[in-house]
Symmetry: C2
Subunit: 145 residues, 2 copies
Amino acid sequence: MPDLTQGEDAAAVSALRSAVMRLSRRLKHQRVDESLSPTEMSVLGTLARCGTATPGELARKEHVQPPSMTRIVALLEAKGLVRLEPHPEDRRQKVVMQTERAEAMLDESRRRRNAWLAELVKGLDEEEWAKLRDAAPVLEKLAHL
Amino acid sequence: MPDLTQGEDAAAVSALRSAVMRLSRRLKHQRVDESLSPTEMSVLGTLARCGTATPGELARKEHVQPPSMTRIVALLEAKGLVRLEPHPEDRRQKVVMQTERAEAMLDESRRRRNAWLAELVKGLDEEEWAKLRDAAPVLEKLAHL
DNA sequence: TATTGTTATACTCTATAACTATA
DNA sequence: TATAGTTATAGAGTATAACAATA
């Protein structure tokens, strides 16, 4: 493992942090549905990948506290985007799963986000975009560690 | 420019968005000083790069509204991290600049952030980290577009 | 006794609208 | 009349603490 406190590794860390913070702030303004927060979107994305999850699992994956996830899941349920069922083995837990409506919304969301990012990416050249595209899965892995 | 609505470009966009949101949430918990928010940190970083700036310039660079920047600058001033001076040519404006204390804090901050990210990056292999390091400046450029 | 999830409450950050001072 | 910055206020999202139900 490289020494992350030296030279260009340190510069990369610094650039990464400030860029992530600025981008996250701007992404908030690019909501598909005005009534859907970034974390709600992220939960739907997680459910699309994982199928089902308990509220506790979702809280851990999204790095929010359990009470926050309770609220998020309740909001998503009220919007008809997730369904809650009793856990088959443990009556304390619940199982959260996405609805067809959520799936349709994710498709629409993807189209709109791409349109927004495509505009932004016009300021990059091919080589820069290639670097970013290569790094995207790594960034995602990092966010899940 | 590639078609960002198709194939692996679309996947990169999606991965990028969700990773940025998750990481930004986790970064909030890795504050150097508990009393310093991510945006306050980012403003100090900007001042370190640009030297001086007016509140309006900072608001535009950080993508927050002017009243939010007023508050942020006031908090930083109260903590002795920035100094405010009258604008030499326009008496409506002010000039914001960092103090020595801010500079020292940024050094300390860099050390701690690196330590935290180094821990996280242990879950990546050399090749993955190389990709991320290459992309970091691009991500930063994107955030400034 | 430990764990899952919820309820109640408070805090942080940001935004919008209205205002002041200067250009 | 337009612009830079501020004040006042409200809203969104999250956290902590205390609680209920189940393991």
